[in-house]
Amino acid sequence: MQQVVQEIKNLSIGFTSKKGEQISILKNISTTINKGETVGIVGESGSGKSTLALAMMGYVKHGLFTISGECIYQSNDILKMKNRELENIRGRKIAMIPQNAGQSLTPNLKIGYQIDEALRLHTNFQKEDRDVKISELLNKVRLPSPETIAKRYPHELSGGQQQRVAVAMALAGSPDLLLLDEPTTGLDVTTQAHVLELLNFIAKDTGTSMVYVSHDLGAIAQVSDRVIVMYSGEIVLDGPVRTILKNPIHPYTYGLLKSIPKLTLSGLPNSMSGSQPQPGTIKEGCSFYDRCEFAEDKCKINSPELEFVSDLNTSVRCFNHKKLHKKKDEDTKSSKKVLRKLTKNEILDISSVSISYAKQKFIEQLLNKIDDTNPTVKDINIKIDKGETLALVGESGSGKSTILKSIAGLIKAKDGIIKFDKNKILSNDLKKRDANYLRAIQLIFQNPDESLNPNHTVEEIVSQPLKLYFGLSGNELKQKIIEVLKKVRLGEFYLTRYPRQLSGGEKQRVAVARAFAAKPDIILCDEVTSALDVSVQAAVLNLLQELKVDFGTTYIFVSHDLAVVKAISDRVAVLYQGRLCEIGPSESVYKFPSHPYTEVLLGAVLEPDPDIKPKLVAEDIVEEKPPEKGCSFQGRCPRLLGQICKTDVPPWQIDENGNAIRCHIKINDLKNQQISN
């Protein structure tokens, strides 16, 4: 019998609606957290996973209350404890690591002081012992030179380092249970892989139980022993990580796993229709009924109970799980990617573009030029053919969005020329651009909450480009709006809706409709799927793909997610610190030989499979500025040749697949080294 750290019995948490109805956010949750176990709680936004994690440390958000059930820690119900008693448990016995460490650290106190504070509160150490302990903790989270880190302020650390400090603070009281709420969501891929690896190490080293809350099945797969899948406030699946991810016997998890783009798959993932129901809207029947491929009549009326399947050691909330049990290895592939027609019809030519964020001096303002020898983005040469999807990939700070903005005319390029349709030069001043070129290039943004005016109806939003570029009005305008909405699979009744009345996926569809209303030749997509849930992400990607087939639109697709990029792009350009590292057809970029940076990125991609571990090749240092001389990746390169990398800009080398790599290492050597790894 394993030792139980926390037991949740029949827990329901909810709120009272304006009409006085009691609405549950969590419905009859029962589970146990065993000692030394890492439990991953996974679900889409609104599934109640964070509410559950907070309840585990006896915290119920303002406006919510416990309807029934208990949360037992050391034979006491922590939900009924008084604040005094909770103070002794929180931080000392149960600690939490928040999503954004940068915001959870006090900005005006030094790191060392903040950890010391945690130690003072949660332990009985004397001052000298605490100092030793601080170094010990910082060492444990693998921060370089703990003494210097302790003297720094939070803003002097990178995102990954801040997250490590948060882990160190949580470990200060040597807790029994560590709750992590999306701890790596805001981090870069390589940093994320390092932090996850650290968490795994700590779990083994200290024997602490962990509860890891995330929407990212890739991250969950790396750290968890057991996974709980939540949907609409209920546990729908609870079992060992391998069973859940390799043999998902609940239709929701089954669909979710199929909708994740993977490096091993070619083409777009299948999408899942619909969205999670709002709390309180499902009165009877299974909450997944509307979206379920396997739904039967009985699912509409009866709600399934959590049922234990002994041969898989898994609990599942579904009547039809046996069907899925057998349906193991069918249709795992879904190659829907449309191959590009090789027209060689150049539509955009970006030649030696450099962009600087340096502030102009007074004289430079007069002369209208910028004197910056080391600009943020430098020397970008890309030619894009009509109907092609080019992806720009890189971590934050790689200049990918900056390039996009300068194509759209929102940022002035310092040097270089952008030509549209072979010979028409696009002015770098938006105001001087011809209206027809403005129409031809449209943008879709990352977060539809920000990119749609909250006070406009869908009709007004989509009408903007139609009125501006085509001068439509009256009935003609309305017909056209309906037509455009139909193309993004939205019905006529959406016309009068405001963005706040739409789900995330619907909002992004409206943003796509607005871009397509201008009949553009090129659409610039800035991380268009990263603010969306996985199941919705797949639907949006599929939509973009279909529209491309219908209209022959060219996409420039910016993303940090290599799996998404692989699914949608024809060609990939990898950027580091505003310099191109590698560019080529997407099949060959994902194959060796690769630029060492691409290799690092590919190694850090998290697959939703506990048996595929990320390869951590380089250190996760964050560089603030691109180096003055030599290769842009010299600071982190695991295959550094020597002095030449620090002084000379590497030459472009092209391999047999048409993949261009900018590296000093000979292309064949690179291939041999990488394959032998």
Binding site: G274, P277, D290, E450, N453, Q464, P465, L468, T496
Partner: protein, 296 residues
């Protein structure tokens, strides 16, 4: 695909106004404010039709009479009926300050949005000028204007409108700054919309509420300011009844004819309280938390 979201009918402007007013009236403070305000406005519009006495009829034999069934609020030092003068006394003040705050709203809102949008040097210069104006005691400046140009309504309305609009510039600018960084503005720029179109279509719907609430607040302050001017003898000229003027005339006799002072004070303060409560309820109905936004 089944839709979970309830179908909402498009709302007409009228039904939106009805909804806002009913939300305002759902709280006791908002209801009281609305009742007081509606009462005062109705009185100001209709009172000439039913006043019991002539407001300018001087009768030395009736000097400083205590309240009675004939003279409900008594009489003043010239024997005029205080009740009549009190219910007529708000007319000029309400009219002048209502149009004054409209002017304040228009120029303050327009300049604030413009500064917030263009930013940079122009914004800096304009805001420093506004700061400079804020540091001038408004009552001194008003006295100067009034003594140079006279006390006609044509002078008072734009002068008050100008002085009370400075604060609105700041609020409008701050509200514009909140929206300006959002992607829908960037998106509009990238499409090639002009500044005017961006202000009208994208910014205004998002800052309108904040500016209107600020304008409502300014109205009550302006009312107090206007009455102060009248009190000093620079607002309404006698014999037109006005609360500020009435208080000023009767204040020397307060010890034995308190009714002549109390009546206009009650009229003025109830109207200000009414406007304040209404403005607060208006802000809450629109979902704006005034406590987080500094007024000046």
């Amino acid at each position: 695909m089944t839709l979970v979201i309830k179908q909402e009918k498009p709302k007409s402007t009228f039904s939106k106004i009805v909804e806002i007013i009913s939300t305002m009236a759902s709280r006791p403070s908002g209801l009281i404010g609305l009742i007081i305000l509606v009462f005062h406005v109705t009185l100001a519009i209709t009172s000439p039709l039913y006043v019991p006495h002539d407001y300018k009829a001087i009768d030395p034999s009736l000097m400083l009479q205590a309240p009675s069934s004939e003279y409900w609020f008594g009489t003043d030092s010239l024997g005029r009926d205080v009740f009549t003068r009190t219910i007529l006394g708000g007319r000029t003040a309400l009219t002048v300050t209502f149009f004054g705050s409209l002017i304040a709203l228009l120029w303050g809102g327009a300049l604030g949005i413009f500064c917030g949008l263009v930013g940079g040097k122009i914004d800096d210069v304009v805001m420093r000028i506004i700061d400079a104006f804020l540091s001038i005691p408004w009552i001194l400046a008003m006295l100067l204007i009034v003594s140079l140009l006279g006390t006609s309504t044509i002078v008072l309305i734009p002068a008050l409108g100008f002085f009370y609009g400075k604060g609105i510039v700041r609020v409008a600018r701050a509200a514009t700054h909140d929206v300006i960084a959002k992607d829908f503005i960037v998106s509009a720029r990238a499409r090639g919309h002009g500044n005017f179109s961006i202000i009208w279509n994208e910014i205004l719907p998002n800052v309108r509420d904040a500016i209107m609430v600020e304008g409502a607040m300014r109205w009550s302050w302006m009312l107090l300011g206007f009455s102060s001017l009248s009190f000093l003898g620079f607002g309404v000229s006698p014999p037109t009844p006005d609360w500020g003027l009435m208080i000023s005339n009767a204040r020397g006799l307060m010890s034995f004819a308190y009714w002549a002072v109390l009546a206009p004070i009650f009229g003025l303060s109830s109207l200000i309280i009414g406007i304040n409560l209404t403005a607060d309820a208006f802000a809450k109905a629109l979902g704006i938390d005034r406590s987080t936004k500094a007024p000046v």
